[in-house]
């Protein structure tokens, strides 16, 4: 903070602020206590005239940093953004005036517990009058003014401790993408990236490109009219990839080491001679990449886990992938029985073989593509000889979407029989070959036993997602996650990326061994910035979906490259240039930051200090919240920007009966919920002081203890849901905060304070009625237990 800072505070009187509050007094607070060098009032600050005033002051050098004392920081965001200038916002409109605009709620302290209306956060309006200028008693006016004064103090304090973030000099722009896996997904990702102008290297473990799809005779159609199987199109794709000038293909190769971060991943590619067994390394080289797409596909489920379906008992029981191999070998000629090469007159497809099942060794999930795949395979027989009987035994036919239903209908019209049933046993049929199947026909409600020449088990997909680095620390309290456990141990657990990250060698898995995103709205967001999963490694899917998925992953990889090149954060704080700064001389090497970072952004250097990787960082601040010695901060968000705001609030004497409640609210959910509550004129305690925070995970317990020591009567943390269906956008932030807060009880005891003084709530963005109510409940709690004994 070498350069001289001149703070300009701009007080807007619009939207009812000027009527409800004494703007001259706010000006005085900003000047005297906020130490603003220049304070201006304006009737309509967000108008071009108002903004121009600020710009003029900035241009003339009278002001270097801006405090906008107007609406919530979520409103007029781009209006009040000035290049390279730090801006703090005092939330007078939503935070003070609108949340108190109607007939002032009498203090819950005065009539504690008696007011039902305060509990619902709404005030019975006296008449139809709903202007912002309702008459309020002078004492109510005064408490509201005090609330506003504090908002001015907080914003003026915040600005003094923040600097506008600027990109560090660590960015690297590297427009080369590493694609791991040379199947449909990998080749599509490579080709689509190359078509956008980026260079790509494909690393494929086997000797040829093509992956699973190369072993298919036909694939499920995805273009209208979706009536018949189509050529997999692998040869075309392989040749396009092979001749593309921006694509390099490394077959028979693996990744033995990946370090670095987006823009500068250092990857060691090891060439293995497939002929010389597992460890036939024939040399390696290290290359640098901007981003990584992991398209390592799946392994077909191992049918030895389903002995009841007769796979071992009869040579005429095959899996769906084995049937593809037979069809591919037959090249359109009639298929014959594997056991004795006799003609096939009847085929049974057993759907969900070892899937959608909670039995040990089975897959609990649905692989999504098998219903259509069995229809396709039944057509192989129907098309060769319509007299062949093909029966699909299913529990639900799952052919969603537009093309899916057309294909199902096409199967029906070709004479494929679909029966809802449950298979109980399959065995060898006896002398004549084939297989004997016992099943319950659920439509006719009867047990059936009959022989088929061939039985095809529609087995599922097991993801090749590498090592689940977080398998040990995820809680398994949900009963049905146990059922999925076998899927994870199906495949030999060998790392794919071999990341040197402190937090494990591969992408963390989500469920059932797949590397999917947890978020419905953000399917590509992984917890390792710049590394994206595509295709069946992310989620079970068919070829059409895998191609779409791979194209999307290429978009994300390109975006990660462009952002890393400019020091901009990736989702969800997209574009944020701030970055954790560490004061190493205070660091005790406790490793909490490295362990708690939800994104694996922090390594350790050779002296065991935390090593921050800027372009891996998502700017949530969990490291800042974790640090017991408080040496981690961001330029625009730090222990001080929040901590000093907390301390800037005026704490009235206990005799004044005006408690102070600190509310630290997650900026993505709790804060917008309060903003919307204010828009709907819901009221919350006039004694609350709300500070938005990036994530509950960024809350350092020093803020809580400092608040209590300063004489606050209560502290509330409002963050997102944690646990299995967590909604925290930084994955583990709210979980970490809840964990840390369990430890705060000791501190409270040491301070001689009641446990109720600190409370954590999970608040959703839709808790528009509930969030104010929670604050009001806290006010009543304080009324009950009395003022903090720590007030000076």
């Amino acid at each position: 903070m070498a350069k001289e800072r001149k703070i300009g505070a701009y007080i807007c009187r619009g939207c009812g602020i000027g009527q409800a509050l004494d703007a001259d007094r706010l000006e005085e607070v900003a000047a005297r206590e906020g130490r603003a060098n220049l304070v201006r009032q304006h009737d309509f600050l967000c108008a071009p005239e108002g903004v121009e005033t600020i710009r003029a002051d900035l241009a003339s050098g009278e002001v270097s940093d801006v405090v906008v004392c107007a609406c919530s920081g979520r409103a007029m965001t781009s209006t009040f953004r000035f290049d390279g200038v730090a801006v703090a916002r005092a939330n007078l409109r939503e935070g003070v005036v609108w949340s108190r605009a109607r007939k002032g709620e009498s203090s819950a302290l005065a009539d504690a517990g008696s007011s039902d209306s305060s509990e619902r956060g709404e005030i019975p309006a006296k008449t139809g009058e709903t202007t912002g200028e309702a008459e309020v008693s002078s004492s109510e006016r005064e408490t509201m003014q005090e609330m506003a004064d504090d908002h001015i103090r907080m914003a003026c304090t915040e600005i003094r401790f923040m600097t506008p973030p600027s990109p560090s000099l660590e960015q690297t722009l590297n427009r080369t993408i590493l694609v791991v896996g040379g199947g449909i997904s990998g080749m599509t990702a490579a080709l689509e990236s190359a078509r956008a102008g980026y260079s790509v290297t494909i690393v494929e473990k086997s000797a040829t490109l093509g992956g699973f799809a190369a072993r298919l005779w036909k694939r499920i159609p995805d273009r209208s009219p979706c009536e018949a199987p189509v050529d997999p199109g692998i040869a075309t794709l392989v040749s396009e990839v092979s001749v593309h000038e921006r694509i390099t293909v490394e077959t028979s190769s693996k990744i033995s080491r990946t370090s670095g971060s987006p823009g500068k991943f250092k990857v060691t590619i090891e060439r293995c001679d497939p002929a010389s067994g597992d460890d036939g390394s024939t040399g390696s080289r290290t290359e640098t990449f901007g981003a990584i797409i992991q398209a390592t596909g799946f392994t077909p489920f191992d049918p030895s886990h389903i002995p009841e379906l007769g796979y071992a008992a009869s040579g005429d029981v095959v899996t769906s992938s084995e049937l593809e191999a037979l069809a591919l070998a037959a090249k359109g000629e009639a298929l014959v029985r594997p056991s004795d090469a006799k003609p096939i007159k009847s085929v049974l497809f057993v759907q969900c073989a070892g899937q959608r099942s909670s039995k040990p060794g089975h897959l609990s999930y649905c692989s999504g593509y098998c219903c259509a795949a069995s229809i396709k395979q039944a057509m192989y027989f129907q098309d060769a000889d319509p007299s062949i009987e093909t029966v699909v035994l299913y529990s639900d036919m799952r052919t969603p979407g537009s093309g899916g239903e057309d294909f199902y209908r096409s199967g029906q019209s070709r004479g494929i029989v679909f029966t809802k049933g449950e298979t109980s046993a399959i065995s060898a049929a006896g002398e004549g070959g084939g297989a004997r199947v016992r099943y319950r026909d659920l439509i006719l409600d009867e047990e059936v036993e009959r022989d088929f020449d061939l039985v095809v088990l529609a087995t599922g997909m097991v993801a090749n997602a590498g090592v689940d680095s977080e398998a040990n620390d995820t809680k398994t309290d949900e009963p049905d996650t146990n059922a999925s456990a076998p899927a994870a141990i199906e495949i030999p657990v060998e790392s794919i990326l071999n990341l040197t990250y402190r937090q494990g060698p591969d992408l963390p898995h989500l469920a059932h061994g797949f590397a999917d995103s947890h978020f419905i709205c953000f399917p590509y967001e992984t917890r390792r910035t710049g590394i994206y999963a595509a295709g069946p490694v992310r989620r079970p899917m068919d070829i059409a979906q895998a191609r779409e998925d791979a194209t999307g992953s290429a978009m994300k990889a390109i975006q990660a490259i462009e952002n890393a090149g400019r020091g901009r954060a990736a989702h969800p704080r997209s574009g944020d240039l701030s970055f954790p700064k560490v004061r190493y001389d205070g660091c005790t090497q406790c490793k909490r930051c490295t362990v708690e970072c939800p994104f694996g952004a922090i390594d350790e250097d050779e002296k065991r200090y935390p090593l921050f990787n800027e372009s891996r960082c998502r700017r949530c601040g969990t490291c800042m919240g974790a640090c017991p010695v408080r040496v981690i901060s961001f330029e625009n968000y730090s222990i001080d920007t929040v901590g000093q705001q907390i301390k800037s609030v005026e704490i009235p004497d206990e005799t004044e009966n005006k408690p102070r409640i600190l509310v630290l609210a997650c900026e993505n959910d709790a804060w917008p919920a309060l903003d919307m509550a204010a828009r709907l004129r819901r009221s919350w305690s006039v004694f609350a002081r709300v500070i938005p925070i990036r994530c509950l995970g960024s809350v350092n317990t020093i803020w809580v203890t400092d608040a209590l020591n300063a004489g606050y009567d209560g502290v509330m943390l409002m963050g997102c849901k944690s646990g299995e269906n967590y909604q925290c956008h930084f994955v583990k932030g709210s979980e970490m905060a809840q964990y840390r807060m369990t430890k705060i009880d000791d501190t409270l005891e040491q301070l001689g304070l009641e446990k109720e003084r600190v409370i954590t709530h999970e608040v959703a963005i839709t808790d528009i009625e509930r969030a104010p109510r929670l604050i009001n409940e806290m006010e009543r709690t304080i009324a009950r237990i009395g003022p903090s004994p720590l007030k000076f």
């Binding site: 959608r356 999930y365 799952r398 409600d445 419905i520 709205c521 399917p523 999307g552 290429a554 959910d669």
Partner: protein
């Protein structure tokens, strides 16, 4: 900070612009993914706010989380994207030219509120006229209301009721909004709208006089702007199949038959029922709810295709009865196949384990209403064992099918569609790329995936125009 992001290979600001049509989750995603990679994007949306259908959903499956939560992140991303412009109340009228070089003619309807609006709400307080609130998807409208959408009695507000109460509130009335309004509390752009029906009335003057900021512009007229764009992402989403066309189900005739979309609005704590799950006929609690799958879908007489989301929607909505009525709530799902693919199966398994949720494999034949109780009675045959049933329920929810918002002949350009009306990827489409439910019946997750892929296809066109040596797209 909005520093100008240099374009790829230093192409600077003269790189081509991507036009995204439709501001729902797919359009927003496509626009953001492209602009966050350094592209110039214009997003146009027909409604006065962005977010599309997801803004009207109570919860998402399978996490049962709230859709506006992800929307808040996206709105934040938009506010932080200086190279993305958003035009609301705008629609694409025509598109001329070829891939890489299109001229788009965009029609912008008058909002009668300019960008001086602070969203203070004074205009809404001043205006007297009220209209049915379209945000609530027609919930509470009778068939008579539906045919006379504009009525102007100014009562009929039933919001704010206590969701836990059992007391009868009488027949459900549609939610009303003022003639000057913010479409919903999180609407972005955070700017009010004047209903065109008040223009020329005393109310327009009242709104004008109430605004202290000069934001009401009663002289605003429809305008058309021409935009030079390199590529177009078509993300116009879906609309529900017209439930009244499924004659045997009595939608519009039997008041206690509603659509799955209407149920979402009913669950909104700020919606027409204040979040109460009730019967439209009498406002009594709807504890025993029937869900009819494939309402309009997988049916040659209606929509041929499977709408994909409806199974998951009904599984999700079956939890609403529990949420409101605990052990007294029960749900029955009449289905053909439950399509809960991949890990959505986990959710299906969880719902199946609830003894209060029944599954009956049956295409319901027809619905009658008990004249005394108003109970809808479902008639049909349970396919598993062929047993006839006549089951009374408190409320019937039609898991209504999804069809493309824009039908066959209504595209402002030539584009290849399949027989269900969804856009097919085809070289003949030039640089027009469909995203989300314009391509197929998709859930939110798959729409976002589709939109991200569409963003790349558009980026390829833009880059082809700026990167030396980069061939134009061939397919």
């Amino acid at each position: 900070m909005p520093e100008p992001v240099p374009g790829i290979e230093g192409a600077g600001t003269d790189q081509g612009v991507i036009l995204v049509v439709g501001g729902g989750i797919s359009g927003i995603t496509a626009a953001l993914e492209a602009t966050e990679a350094g592209k110039d994007v214009i997003l146009i949306e027909k409604r006065p706010f962005i977010g599309g259908r997801i803004t009207q959903l109570y919860k998402y499956f399978p996490k049962l989380c709230h859709p506006v939560c992800g929307l808040e992140i996206n709105q934040r991303r938009i506010k932080a994207s200086p190279r993305l412009s958003v035009l609301t109340m705008a629609s694409l009228e025509s598109l001329r030219g070829t891939a890489g070089d299109y001229t788009a003619s965009v029609r912008i309807a008058p909002r009668y509120v300019n960008d001086r609006c602070t969203a203070c709400g004074a205009c809404a307080e001043a205006v007297q006229a009220e209209f049915n609130d379209e945000f609530h998807d027609g919930l509470g409208l009778t068939s008579a209301d539906r045919s006379h959408a504009a009525s102007d009695d100014s009562s009929g507000d039933s919001s704010g009721a206590d969701p836990s109460g059992d007391s009868s509130t009488g027949p459900l009335k549609p939610a009303r909004r003022k003639g000057a309004y913010l479409p919903y509390p999180m609407a972005w752009p955070e700017r009010f709208v004047l209903d065109p029906r008040i223009i020329g009335t005393e109310d327009a003057r009242r709104a004008f006089d109430a605004c202290r900021y000069g934001a009401i512009d009663l002289d605003m007229t429809e305008e058309t702007v021409e935009l030079k764009v390199a590529a177009v992402i078509w993300a116009t989403g879906w609309k529900p199949y017209d439930a009244a066309k499924i004659q045997p189900y009595g939608y519009g005739r039997i008041p206690n038959v509603i659509t799955s979309l209407e149920l979402e609005r009913m669950m909104d704590p700020l919606g027409p029922t204040g979040g109460k799950l009730v019967r439209p006929s009498d406002g009594l609690p709807a504890r025993n709810v029937a869900f009819i799958q494939c309402a309009g879908s997988r049916d040659r007489n209606h929509l041929r295709h499977c709408s994909r989301i409806c199974c998951m929607v009904s599984l999700k909505q079956s939890t609403y009865t529990r949420e409101r009525y605990g052990d007294e709530g029960e749900a029955t799902i009449y289905y053909i196949d439950i399509r809960a693919i991949d890990r959505l199966e986990d959710f299906y398994r969880k719902i199946k384990s609830d003894p209060k949720v029944r599954f009956i494999k049956s295409k319901v034949a027809n619905i009658t209403a008990d004249p005394r109780s108003g109970d809808p009675i479902l008639h049909g045959v349970d396919t598993e064992g062929y047993r006839r049933y006549s089951n009374p329920h408190d409320l019937v929810v039609l898991a209504i099918g999804m069809q493309p918002s824009v039908g066959g002949d209504d595209f402002p350009f030539e584009v290849v569609v399949n027989r269900d009306g969804f856009i097919e990827p085809d070289p003949r489409n030039g640089a027009i790329f469909a995203a989300g439910c314009a391509t197929d019946a998709l859930d939110v997750n798959r729409s976002v995936q589709s939109a991200t892929a569409a963003a790349l296809r558009a980026v390829q066109v833009v880059n082809a125009g700026t990167m030396p040596g980069l061939e134009s797209r061939r397919d």
